[in-house]
């Protein structure tokens, strides 16, 4: 019988609509296609520029800052800087963000305080990264915190710029994505899961640790990758807080701490400085680095989307 069933037109056809409605529909199509065209143009142009300018050697040679572009080297240091900064920022942002989300969803009392914290997260999300950077600069310039960077001889203030400081401030711009994703995941866990755990005599803290945290792992992963994307793509904090030295320059020889106190650059600041807006004016290198940057950011975002989609496939609390 179903073989004889005809599929009728699923929707009303626009041909019968009043003129104004048809104009609206046409605008709708135009907007959608324009958006796709812009995206396609960016992909094609950056892809073409990136692939034609990017040589593998650029990824593994240190930059030299030479005016002659053939001797200016690659962007190994900016690449390392990006990875280091992203790692630092996300390491700080994830625990704080997850803890905040847990408190908001699982406790959230007194209620006015919870609402204040909720809007506080929004404020941090909305605060321009330049402002966050300047805030970090003034806090970490105070001489009491000079262990985070270094103090030039004779200066009464610390330098206030280092990997550690930039990483701390970067964690702020990743924080809202982590909080939002973790919160979303927590709210999707049905209450009977919590009740079942509590009914078994577990405390709330144990419920959180044993039941809730494992089940929101995909949510945390989504937030983490989105936050990493934001850190990788941010320029203002790097320009203001990483000291803007082309090479990664550790302070003192202590292996890890020296690096954290040191200065350097990232892919974003490398692109900025090599564009006509910066000093370098080496568009080819800028394109190549921008291409790598885009691949990183887009990859992180695609990963986040994939994790999020996987979560929809089956209820997370079962896994």
């Amino acid at each position: 019988m179903s073989a004889t069933a005809v599929r009728t037109r699923a929707r009303d056809s626009a041909s019968s609509w009043p003129l104004l409605d048809r104009v609206g529909l046409a605008c709708c199509w135009a907007a959608g296609l324009a958006l796709a065209a812009v995206a396609a143009a960016i992909v094609l142009y950056m892809g073409w520029k990136g692939i034609s300018q990017l040589k593998p050697s650029l990824l593994v040679t240190h930059p030299t800052g030479d005016v002659d572009q053939s001797k200016a080297g690659g962007f190994l240091d900016p690449l390392e800087g990006t990875l280091l900064l992203t790692g630092l920022g996300i390491l700080l942002a994830v625990p704080i963000g997850v803890a905040t989300a847990l408190w908001l969803v699982e406790y959230g009392r007194p209620a006015p305080l919870a609402r204040a914290v909720e809007s506080g997260v929004e404020i941090i999300a909305g605060a321009p990264s330049v402002v966050l950077a300047l805030f970090g600069l003034t806090v970490f310039s105070s001489s009491g915190l000079s262990f985070m960077s270094f103090r030039a001889s004779g200066a009464d203030e610390a330098f206030g710029r280092s990997f550690a400081i930039a990483g701390i401030v970067m964690s702020l711009i990743a924080l809202p994505s982590v909080v939002a994703a973790a919160r979303e995941a927590l709210m999707q866990i049905p209450n009977h899961v919590r009740e079942a755990s509590l009914a078994l005599g577990k405390t709330k803290a144990a419920t959180i640790r044993r039941v809730l945290l494992p089940s929101i792992r995909p949510g945390i992963a989504t937030g983490t990758t989105l936050g990493m994307g934001r850190i990788v793509g941010d320029t203002a904090i790097v320009v203001l807080l990483l000291g803007n030295t082309l090479l990664t320059e550790p302070q003192t020889d202590v292996p890890v701490l020296g690096l954290l106190r040191g200065t350097g650059s990232t892919l974003t600041s490398y692109v900025y400085n090599n564009s006509p807006a910066g000093e370098g004016n080496a568009p080819d290198k800028a394109y190549a680095a921008a291409f790598v940057l885009m691949v990183l950011v887009i990859g992180l975002n695609a990963l986040a989307a994939r994790i999020a989609r996987g979560r929809d496939g089956g209820p997370a609390w079962i896994r």
Binding site: M1, S2, A5, V6, R7, R9, A10, D12, S16, L19
Partner: protein
């Protein structure tokens, strides 16, 4: 064509108010005996066939929800579709104004005609103004009472009518739905602040404003209290003279109270149809007997 005899249509005398639909004295739902004693009920010579389904089949993907249903819908009488949940009665109802097409996986076979014209040949917006629908959950739009009723008039027209021109049809629709006296002083209030029963009557008024020829009602009282239910049932009886009414219900007492003709559906098939008396007093199919007798459902 129709294997069954055309059932007699009773006529309600318009000057005497219908007496059967008073709320039952004991207040816990109508007893079966309260059924069919309508004042002045007699067969209507004016029952006109408006819609006809021939071999209608509706499938959601591979799953067949409605299987080869033949049905006739007449103006001047109320047709009730009854059956256990999941039997396809709502799907059949939704196909009558092609709302099934909003579900991408749904496909339909067979022929449905409105006044002899194939449904697929009618432009769907026009069809839906002629065959309007009231849903199970009251769904007034988040706007004022007035705007709700005027909605179809405004948006159905290619040129939006001005508000003064709408006052009269809005009042007429609200009066027909029996809501006018309750809302006439606050037409500008948000519709979502009305009570559930008022909201459902508002939805009926919203449908009536566009002067439909057929009114489809999908369990219109299942979310309402007994008093609102009574009001809406009385309303249905008043409406049937002017338009054809199809009501889906799984409340058998309600079907007995309001319907002139009843069609029993089971697992997507139309098992039996006939006058209300035939179905409830002397069902022929064993499954109908079991269902009406309360053996399942």
């Amino acid at each position: 064509m129709d294997p069954l005899m055309p059932p007699p249509v009773r006529r309600i005398s318009l000057d005497a108010p219908p007496t059967v639909v008073e709320p039952p004295a004991n207040g816990n739902g109508a007893g079966a005996g309260a059924g069919r004693a309508r004042a002045g009920a007699e067969p209507s010579p004016h029952a006109v066939e408006r819609m006809r389904c021939e071999g209608v089949t509706i499938a959601y993907g591979p799953k067949i929800a409605v299987n080869r249903v033949d049905l006739s819908i007449r103006q001047g009488e109320v047709l009730a579709l009854i059956g256990p949940s999941g039997c396809g009665k709502t799907t059949l109802l939704r196909s009558l104004n092609r709302l099934t097409e909003l579900t991408p996986s749904a496909a339909r076979g067979g022929r449905i005609a409105l006044d002899g014209e194939d449904l697929d040949a009618i432009e769907v917006t026009e069809l839906r103004t002629r065959v309007s629908m009231v849903f199970q959950q009251p769904n007034p739009f988040p706007m004022s009472v007035f705007d709700n009723v005027a909605y179809a008039l405004r948006e159905g027209a290619s040129r939006r009518p001005r508000k003064p021109a709408l006052a009269e049809p809005v009042e007429r629709a609200l009066r027909r739905a029996g809501l006018w006296d309750e809302v006439k002083d606050n037409l500008e209030h948000p519709a979502l602040r009305l009570s559930g029963g008022q909201q459902q009557r508002l939805c009926i008024a919203r449908s009536l404003a566009a002067q439909p020829e057929v009114l489809l009602m999908d369990e219109p009282c299942s979310a309402l209290d007994p008093v609102s239910t009574t009001t809406i049932e009385r309303l249905i009886l008043e409406l049937r003279e002017q338009i054809a009414v199809v009501i889906v219900t799984h409340n058998l007492q309600q079907a007995q109270r309001v319907a002139d003709r009843v069609a029993f559906m089971y697992l997507g098939e139309l098992v039996e149809q006939g006058t209300s008396d035939e179905i409830f007093r002397a069902p022929r199919a064993p499954r109908t007997r079991d269902y009406v007798g309360g053996a399942f459902g």
